[in-house]
Symmetry: C2
Subunit: 340 residues, 2 copies
DNA sequence: CCCGTTCCCGGGAACGGTCCCGAAAAAGTA
DNA sequence: TACTTTTTCGGGACCGTTCCCGGGAACGGG
């Protein structure tokens, strides 16, 4: 049990050669005698030599890793987008380092410093729910570290952005509900400083306007996706003097919990209240009634963001790019009040 | 836009002092004049100086980070255990580096090398579904790198292990089904080289034996948690000449999908078939009928594993520890055939 | 006034690699 | 045989820190 890790120098000493030669052999360069090369490699394997990435990265001035800052991995949207990021990174042989902001501005700032200190080659960011100023990103971006924002983007910084058509899809979802005869459509929206939430609300409002349906503030619930007040919101809605005939929920989990509470109160879905989710989780297919939802392309957004970032890393003077990944409305029974 | 990152040497040059002094100021040591210290710190902030963690770690011979190898973050059990790990790491100011094996032995091996090369101070591992040999872990462990296995543990290596009482809880779950009058209990189990799966099957068998119920091979389905053959399995079970009267599923998602298919086939739950899940996902409360399940303490297991690992890092000659975190049977309507 | 102590600070080795440069040895060429 | 070219290898600077060691200045006590 040798406490110290074996280094290139140890191998050199044991073989009576210089560390330059060992380095040459191990990094697979050609200007070395085949025989000495195999001798070195054999000894290295025998000693379980592991190259010190710290030293290599320090010398090379790059780490071959991309840093990721997301709110939470427990959130399936972000877990899936990390999947897309990983896929692309694996393809080009890069590592990824994931940090969670836990929806906190301070933690996000700490994550950022930590990743910059670790000298990641680039950054993939989806900002936290709390983040409504961008002073922490600016100096990093101006230092020339490539970064691309995805989903929860940051328009204040002239970096590449990957987003989905929140406005259009919220519009489409709302119009679908209207087409099913709904007129009193409740909606749940997130913090309005988030680009995503803002556009979803805009899409909802635009759909009402186009159909000459009055906007009722009482039907707009400001919350966030991990709220634990779903029970409270649901009771509020179903106890309203004029009960809504549809709910456009903030995500599928919320939608499913709401449906559960409504059903227990004797409300029929979709006949009394139609329910539309967001994210198109697998689970939605197995509840009763099956949940209509918005397919939010998490994996593709992560992959696209990673692709763009890698391009920026390889070609530092590329112009920033804005990439739209389309969402899709998935209609199931929870919103189908009319048989077509 | 200065392409190169600012270093301690730059600051030293600009202030006409030595880099030793700058280092002293920035690392907050005391043997420095207060005035020079503030001058240095001010300039550092103004230049957006970020310490180079690579250099620091190389010099200090430690990285202050713990490496984590898990099968998948998309699996909520592991996502939650990462949460527990993060919590403890944050408390002691350590970083965590997460790698996914994607249930592949080769990827797990690569992750291991990559983390060792990055010189993490210790390793937290839950082995992949494919892994049935441990030759890759042995040399690393013998090198003296602290590691602790959790949930999917590895008994072949004399490292600390954190696990749950799979045998007992599978026994308890099965006995619960029996107590509800079930006699033909189907069970879904994972790869038998996994400690967890093996013990769950053992617990199931033991419960049958104690209650003098014959074991039917046709009711034991060998699969894994992310199988996409749930539809097939379900049809197989309900089309059996002698249909089972209970299913002990491999996890809640599977259980919920099975219930959905069964209900579409006109099978009543739990009257015709009782369904017991595993993992106690939130979602289980909102399906119809609410799903009985096993509360698998993911967060606590992650936290315990991290705690133990940090102890090993701080006190290298600590003896390996085996820690049991208890599971809990959660009874809801999907298994309640008799009113108590 | 002298000497020991304390307070600050600079020099330089070290961490573990890479890589440039030059030199010795081997091989090719006339 | 003598010269050139190629092959193979060693020396040493460097990446950005930390930290040990030693030295000079200020200071206090006798």
């Amino acid at each position: 049990m040798d406490k110290k890790a074996v280094t290139i120098k140890d191998i050199a000493r044991m073989l009576n050669i210089s560390k330059s030669t060992v380095s040459r052999a191990l990094s697979g360069r050609s200007d070395i005698h085949p025989e000495t090369k195999t001798r070195i490699i054999q000894l290295a394997e025998q000693l379980n030599y592991e190259p010190n990435t710290l030293a290599i990265n320090l010398k090379q001035q790059k780490t071959n890793t991309i840093g990721v800052i997301i709110p939470e991995t427990i959130n399936r949207f972000f877990a899936r987008s990390v999947g897309g990021i990983q896929k692309i990174a694996d393809m080009v042989g890069m590592n990824v380092m994931i940090c969670q902001s836990n929806e906190s501005y301070m933690a996000e700032k700490n994550n950022l410093h930590s990743l910059v200190s670790s000298r990641v080659d680039g950054l993939l960011i989806s900002i936290s729910r709390e983040t409504d100023r961008y002073d922490h990103f600016k100096p990093v971006f101006e230092k020339g570290i490539p970064m691309v924002f995805f989903d929860r983007i940051c328009e204040d910084i002239n970096a590449s952005q990957v987003f989905t058509d929140n406005f259009e899809i919220a519009f489409e979802g709302t119009e679908h509900l209207i087409s099913q005869g709904c007129r009193r459509i409740a909606v749940m929206v997130g913090q309005q400083h988030l680009h995503t939430s803002r556009n979803r609300l805009r899409g909802y409002l635009e759909a009402l306007k186009r159909n000459n349906i009055p906007v009722l503030e009482s039907l707009i619930i400001h919350t966030h996706y991990s709220s634990n007040k779903i029970d409270e919101y649901t009771r509020y809605l179903i106890n309203l003097p004029q009960r809504p005939d549809a709910v456009f929920a903030i995500n599928d989990y919320t939608a499913i919990e709401m449906m559960h509470i409504m059903k227990k109160s004797g409300i029929r879905i979709p006949e009394d209240i139609a329910v539309l989710g967001f994210n198109n989780e697998n689970m939605g297919r197995f509840v009763d009634p099956p949940l209509s939802s918005i397919d939010h392309p998490a994996h593709d957004m992560g992959a696209a963001a990673a692709e763009i970032l890698i391009n920026h890393i390889r070609h530092p003077d590329l112009k920033p790019e804005n990439r739209l990944i389309k969402s899709k409305l998935i209609i199931r029974e929870s919103t189908l009040r009319k048989n077509p």
